[in-house]
């Protein structure tokens, strides 16, 4: 502090001065930019349009794009402070290679050569599939498209998956099974046009707050929220269904049971557009109100009311997120939801749709173009026709296209543990925080011969363990497109250059291809993302996710355009899939599946009496590599907490704000602040998953959906103990801290 400041002659008047921005008006002078760059938010999949204010080459402010069809100028707290992520101290700036146990700065040339040599070495010795790749939902579609080709065709390994498997994979598998293809059928507009909105395991108020304005705008709707926890969203509901954990299948089957009884189904639609009805009808017979009530814990009245509301609705909307997906029965729950929509014929109509509200900003992009769980353009590995088609488009022999999907994310981790995978490349994801039952992952990472992390941030708990760290540009520093939950493709633009020697993931992929010697074959005449986009347009042409009528300029002009948008399309209206009742199956009919309710795998007992639920908070994004670096978000949500019902806390003699340990058969999370609240039912506890310092994934379970391989994050059995006073160090990664501010500074 200077003497002038200490005396009070200086009050930092310059720093705290105001000015008038020609566009946004009177505001803090330091936030007034020289220019605004239009882009799309890089956090979640709502896909809000925004403008980044750039001053002297730095991103100083953001604002919602008032002309963007998704958010109309509004942003959530993460979006409103997103420019601060760019300036984070923990940005990765230089390639680093582990030398004598220490990560040491190297040149890009050395980094690329090392990567290719090590990967090729491992593949030569142990076979091509000894290389595993774990990507993300955070890159632009152009990068996903390039990465898929590079991994599957360049490196020639099938063992490539994304962290989308920790997130939306069950929705993908469910859509594929029911409709013959991935692709959310509905649109956000449906939230405004529906007369009944049923949200299952979806806490939009915390996780997709910008969608809430649609709910607010729809004054005539009835909002039904089913969630074991009284979330912010549940509190907004007209009817809240506090069902027992993982009893949603019973609820849905019960609804179908009542609809059949009351003849509130659309028999004509069923006959014309679906197959498998008889088996479904048979399977829901036992889901009587008594049975459903016993399993879900709902009163028969609540349940019947819901059934009749849904049955009489003209435009019912079913939205879901992780409460459904994060489950060993995730895919089947999605099928049950689709069953419900199909038997009533409520799909592809304004307001009426089953609709997965996606997680990451571009999870949709990797699903469409990414070459992980399908061939780009929602093509099937199993289909000879699809393989031949893509080979023709890529001008290569059909034999080069893999005939089956490689290992999924959790299976890649297990294969590494079994030494079947020897080298791993992790891109823009942080499994050491996000993977369930972390102990397994840590062992498997230790077992690797070579471990590469490519990320915008370093150190992260994952990049700390890497042999090679590749510094990448992040949101705000690169160009491409994101696709949001409602299939809307929006443009992403660079506002500022990446720090240090960090390069866009796109550049890194092309440079690796160059080193590998396959750039000309896979990426002929590619220079920038636009070249990838043009090729992807051709590849997607004629598919459900048809991009062929889009181009960058058109997208920018409209803020975002939904696919399908085939060549020649001009209508930029809200679109829905399956409006004609024709699905992507061989016979064009949707599949109905008999789905059975089963209890979740790890039931509580005397030693582990609580069911642990996990989730999010509005201030943070995933593993906090970004949001922990944004001082205001970290200030508003500084640490993890464990929610417990007062009755349980009384029994355990625990006080509010006590620090507790959560213990499962697999591990212990220590020093978590206890929140005693009636938001959570007796016998259940809830903890957010964002915090590396107190990581809930030290206790979660290795149980995965058989179809989607998505982890069962939402239920496992734990006990809760008061943290012993002697344990001064919180478990996990004590070094990984966000920017801290002290409340005491307020009143010096």
């Amino acid at each position: 502090m200077t003497l002038k400041r200490q005396l009070g002659l200086d009050i930092l008047a310059g720093k705290y001065s105001y000015g008038t921005d020609p566009v946004t008006g009177f505001t803090s002078a330091q936030k007034i930019p020289d220019r605004w760059v239009a882009t799309t938010c890089g956090y979640c999949s709502v896909g809000c349009g925004m403008l980044v204010g750039v001053k002297d080459g730095k991103a100083v402010s953001v604002r919602g794009n008032p002309d963007h069809p998704v958010n109309r100028g509004l942003l959530c707290p993460k979006g409103l402070s997103e420019h601060h992520t760019i300036e984070a101290e923990t940005r990765a700036r230089y390639p680093l290679l582990r030398k004598n146990g220490k990560l040491t700065r190297i040149s890009w040339d050395e980094a690329l050569e090392t990567l290719v040599a090590k990967f090729r070495g491992v593949q030569k010795k142990y076979g091509p599939d000894a290389l595993g790749v774990l990507s993300t939902g955070q890159l632009v579609t152009e990068e996903f498209y390039a990465l898929g080709k590079l991994v599957q065709l360049g490196f020639g390994t099938k063992n490539y998956d994304g962290n989308t498997t920790l997130c939306m994979a069950s929705a993908v598998s469910g859509y594929k099974r029911s409709f013959g293809s991935d692709g959310p059928p509905g649109a956000y507009e449906d939230l405004e046009k529906a007369d009944v909105i049923l949200l299952l395991g979806a806490n939009v108020a915390d996780n997709h707050p910008i969608l809430c304005q649609r709910l607010e705008a729809n004054q005539s709707k009835i909002l039904i929220v089913a969630d074991p926890r009284v979330t912010k969203t549940a509190m907004m509901a007209d009817i809240y269904l506090p069902l027992k954990p993982r009893s949603d299948i019973a609820l849905i089957n019960g609804l179908i049971h009542i609809l059949l009884e009351q003849d509130l189904v659309d028999r004509r639609y069923i006959a014309q557009h679906t197959t498998g009805f008889d088996a479904l009808e048979e399977s829901v017979r036992k889901y009587t109100p008594e049975f459903v009530s016993r399993i879900t814990g709902l009163s028969q009245e609540q349940f019947l009311r819901t059934a009749l509301l849904y049955g009489h609705a003209q435009a019912p909307f079913i939205g879901w997120t992780m409460g459904v997906n994060h489950s060993t029965k995730g895919t089947e729950t999605v099928n049950a939801i689709n069953n419900l929509a199909l038997v009533t014929g409520k799909i592809g109509k304004p307001g009426a749709s089953p609709f997965s509200i996606t997680g990451q900003c571009n999870a949709m992009g990797t699903r469409e173009a990414g070459f992980t769980s399908s061939i780009p353009g929602y093509r099937k590995f199993e289909s000879v026709r699809d393989r031949e088609e893509i080979a023709r488009l890529w001008n290569m022999a059909p034999g080069r296209i893999p005939t089956s999907r490689g290992l999924a994310y959790p299976d890649i981790v297990e294969a590494a543990l079994a030494k079947k995978i020897r080298a791993l490349w992790v891109i823009a994801t942080n499994p050491v925080v996000s993977f369930p039952n972390l102990g397994i992952l840590q062992q498997s990472l230790e077992a690797l011969d070579f471990f590469v992390v490519q990320d915008g941030f370093h150190p992260t708990p994952t990049s700390e363990l890497a042999d090679l760290v590749l510094p990448a540009a992040i949101w705000g520093e690169k160009e491409g497109t994101y696709t949001n939950s409602e299939r809307r493709v929006s443009k992403v633009n660079a506002a500022v250059p990446a720090p240090g020697e960090a390069r866009s993931d796109f550049d890194i992929f092309l440079a690796i291809a160059e080193t590998l010697g396959c750039r000309e074959e896979l990426f002929p005449d590619w220079h920038g993302p636009k070249d990838a986009f043009e090729e992807w347009k051709c590849v997607s042409a004629g598919r459900l996710c048809d991009y062929s009528g889009l181009d960058y300029e058109l997208i920018e002009k409209h803020g975002g355009i939904q696919w399908p948008f085939p060549t020649g399309a001009t209508e930029i209206a809200t679109s829905r899939l399956y409006t004609d009742g024709r699905f992507q199956t061989e016979d064009g009919k949707a599949r109905l599946f008999p789905i059975e309710w089963e209890p979740f795998p790890e039931q509580p007992n005397d030693d582990y009496p609580f069911v642990l639920n996990t989730g999010r908070t509005v201030e943070h994004w995933h593993t906090r590599t970004k949001t922990a670096q944004v001082a205001i978000l970290q200030h508003l949500s500084p640490n993890a907490w464990l929610e417990m019902n007062p009755r349980d806390a009384d029994a355990l003699k625990l006080q509010p704000h006590a620090h507790v340990d959560i213990v499962s058969r697999r591990g212990r999370t220590s020093g978590v602040e206890l929140r005693i609240t009636e938001m959570i039912a007796p016998g259940q506890v809830f903890m957010p998953f964002h915090f590396a310092e107190t990581n809930v994934n030290q206790v979660t379970q290795s149980a995965f959906d058989p179809f989607s391989r998505e982890p069962n994050y939402k239920q496992c059995a734990v006990r809760v103990e008061q943290t012993p006073p002697s344990s001064t160090k919180a478990s996990g990664f004590g070094w990984f801290r966000g920017k801290s501010t002290t409340a005491q500074e307020r009143r010096p």
Binding site: Y16, C212, A217, L636, N639
Partner: protein, 520 residues
């Protein structure tokens, strides 16, 4: 299958959502179902006479996303820990009928702004046109008195700048016809600017300005209108009730108040001895007391964010107790200087000067105590504060005089012992008052003192008894008296420290999380 419930709900006339109101999409193709709300978010007509702007907060719409907080910080370039708009949580009910509601609040732009009335330098104005309570950072000297005077915790001290800052309703944006940052950022349209008729509001504010989790609007006549849900669970309360932390100690003020009281007590002793005919060493005692007083005034400037502008604090003596304190202690020090000089020079008139010194000093201590008698800090707002301040002087003054070898030592010691006894009594009575109170802030203060601060409270009592009673009664040797004074002085310093840290201010509900690492 029988569906008796269907029959029942039909008979009871429960209607289902068979609404035909499915609005058709707009013909232009682009999405525009949400109307542009900005027109209704700020007033669309000029203010008439007797009107002002105010916030309207619709609690039924708020989803607790805290966009308003982030937008406010961006708008004003504030660091993360200073939030001119805050979001608190209140909660009630029983699973599954639980309600957690959020309370978003900036400044309430009160009709009787207590921040303004307390300010010693006139840094606050209530804008005559808009009614917005505006703080001027250039005028502010960083005394932080306004932060004690607001029941809502609205003005916040920025230590980086050395001045306070607060929400000004983005009145400069309003003047441009734009909505304030928080209003514009709210995805739910839960915050608006409205026009309020002042006279009408004065009559009817109670129903709309109060909410669970908010201090009473009576304190300063908040203008913010709050729309509450139609029904709230009866036990709806702040979620941070169990998160009571010691307040900032304000060390310069701990020393300043104890030292001024010591100085005034010492001068009173000197003057009384002089009246009673004692003469020996009065001049030395006066000089020492003057030095103590000087030290106290020096300490007081250390408290300011902008010490160089300390003199400005004199300005609002007609209104602010802080100005009055500065004025009276200023007078006290000058008259005391004259008194000491007269004593030293043995000039006539020292009796009168002494009397004036004591008068100014006692008045200064009174003003000093009155500073703390503010509504937003209930534990301070009692006669115990006044008593504690007087008794500190009554204890330490005679003890200092006895140490300096003034006459009538027996009387001095008796006076000190009596004062110490009364101080102890005052302490005990205050503690009992806090413990037995139903008011949250007082109870919480008692909880702090009996849990986290208990060792310090016990030590404070021990120091008081040992230094003020046991040692002076046991031996009157010079060493013993010196130890007694040091002990008693330490006791008063510790007592004042506890005075500052154990107060629990009124405030709006906060969020639950403590933001602290696991307790070691």
């Amino acid at each position: 299958m029988q569906l008796p419930l269907l029959e029942r709900v039909k008979k009871q006339g429960i209607t289902f959502a068979m609404t035909p109101r499915i609005r058709s999409g707009s013909s232009t193709g682009t999405y525009c179902a949400v109307p542009d709300q900005s027109i209704t978010k700020i007033p669309q007509r000029p203010l008439a006479h007797g009107e002002q702007y105010r916030f309207h907060f619709d609690m039924t719409k708020c989803i607790g996303c805290k966009c308003c907080v982030v937008a406010c910080n961006e708008q004003n370039g504030n660091p993360a820990h200073i939030n001119w708009r805050r979001v608190g949580e209140i909660e009630g009910g029983w699973y599954p009928n639980t309600q957690r509601l959020h309370l978003s609040m900036g400044c309430n732009h009160c009709l009787e702004p207590t921040c303004l009335t307390g300010c010693p330098v006139d840094a606050y104005t209530k804008d005559p046109l808009t009614g917005v309570v505006i703080h001027n950072a250039q005028t502010c000297i960083g005394c932080q008195y306004c932060t004690w005077n607001c029941s809502y915790g609205v003005p916040q001290y920025n230590s980086e700048r050395g001045v306070v800052g607060k929400c000004d309703m983005c009145h400069n944006r309003l003047a441009e016809g734009r909505e304030p940052a928080c209003v514009g950022a709210c995805p739910e349209g839960a915050i608006q600017i409205e026009i309020v008729n002042i006279a009408e509001w004065k009559r009817n504010y109670a129903a709309s300005a109060n909410a669970p989790g908010l201090p009473s609007a009576d304190d300063s006549l908040s203008t913010t209108r709050i729309t509450l849900p139609a029904s709230l669970p009866p036990d709806t309360r702040k979620v941070d009730l169990n998160r009571v932390r010691p307040e900032h100690p304000h060390w310069p003020l701990v020393f300043m108040t104890v030292l001024t009281q010591l100085s005034v007590g010492a001068f009173a002793t000197i003057w009384l001895l002089q009246i009673l005919g004692e003469q020996a060493r009065l001049n030395i005692a006066a000089l020492v007391s003057l030095a103590v007083g000087g030290l106290a005034l020096a300490a007081s400037t250390m408290h300011l964010g902008r010490p160089i502008h300390a003199y400005r604090a004199l300005k609002m003596w007609k209104r602010s107790w802080l100005s009055r304190e500065v004025l009276l202690f200023g007078l006290f020090s000058k008259i005391a200087f004259a008194y000491a000089a007269l004593l030293w020079l043995s000039w006539p008139g020292s009796h009168v000067a002494g009397g004036l010194t004591v008068f100014a000093g006692v008045a200064g201590v009174t003003a000093s105590a009155c500073i703390y008698l503010v509504r937003p800090r209930p534990a301070w707002r009692s006669r115990h504060t006044v008593a504690e301040f007087y008794l500190a002087g009554a204890l330490l003054g005679p003890l200092l005089a006895a140490n300096l070898g003034l006459g009538a030592r027996q009387w001095l010691i008796s006076a000190a012992v009596v004062a110490a006894g009364l101080q102890l009594l005052n302490l005990l009575v205050k503690f009992l008052w806090l413990v037995s109170s139903d008011i949250f802030e007082l109870k919480a203060s008692a909880r702090l003192l009996s849990a986290q601060l208990r060792p310090l409270l016990l030590m404070r009592c021990v120091l008081l008894v040992v230094g003020g009673i046991v040692l002076p009664l046991q031996s009157q040797s010079a060493v013993s008296l010196a130890v007694a004074f040091a002990t008693a002085f330490a006791g008063e310093i510790l007592g004042r420290y506890l005075f500052f840290v154990s107060v629990v201010p009124k405030n709006m509900a906060a969020s639950y999380l403590s933001g602290r690492k696991a307790a070691a």
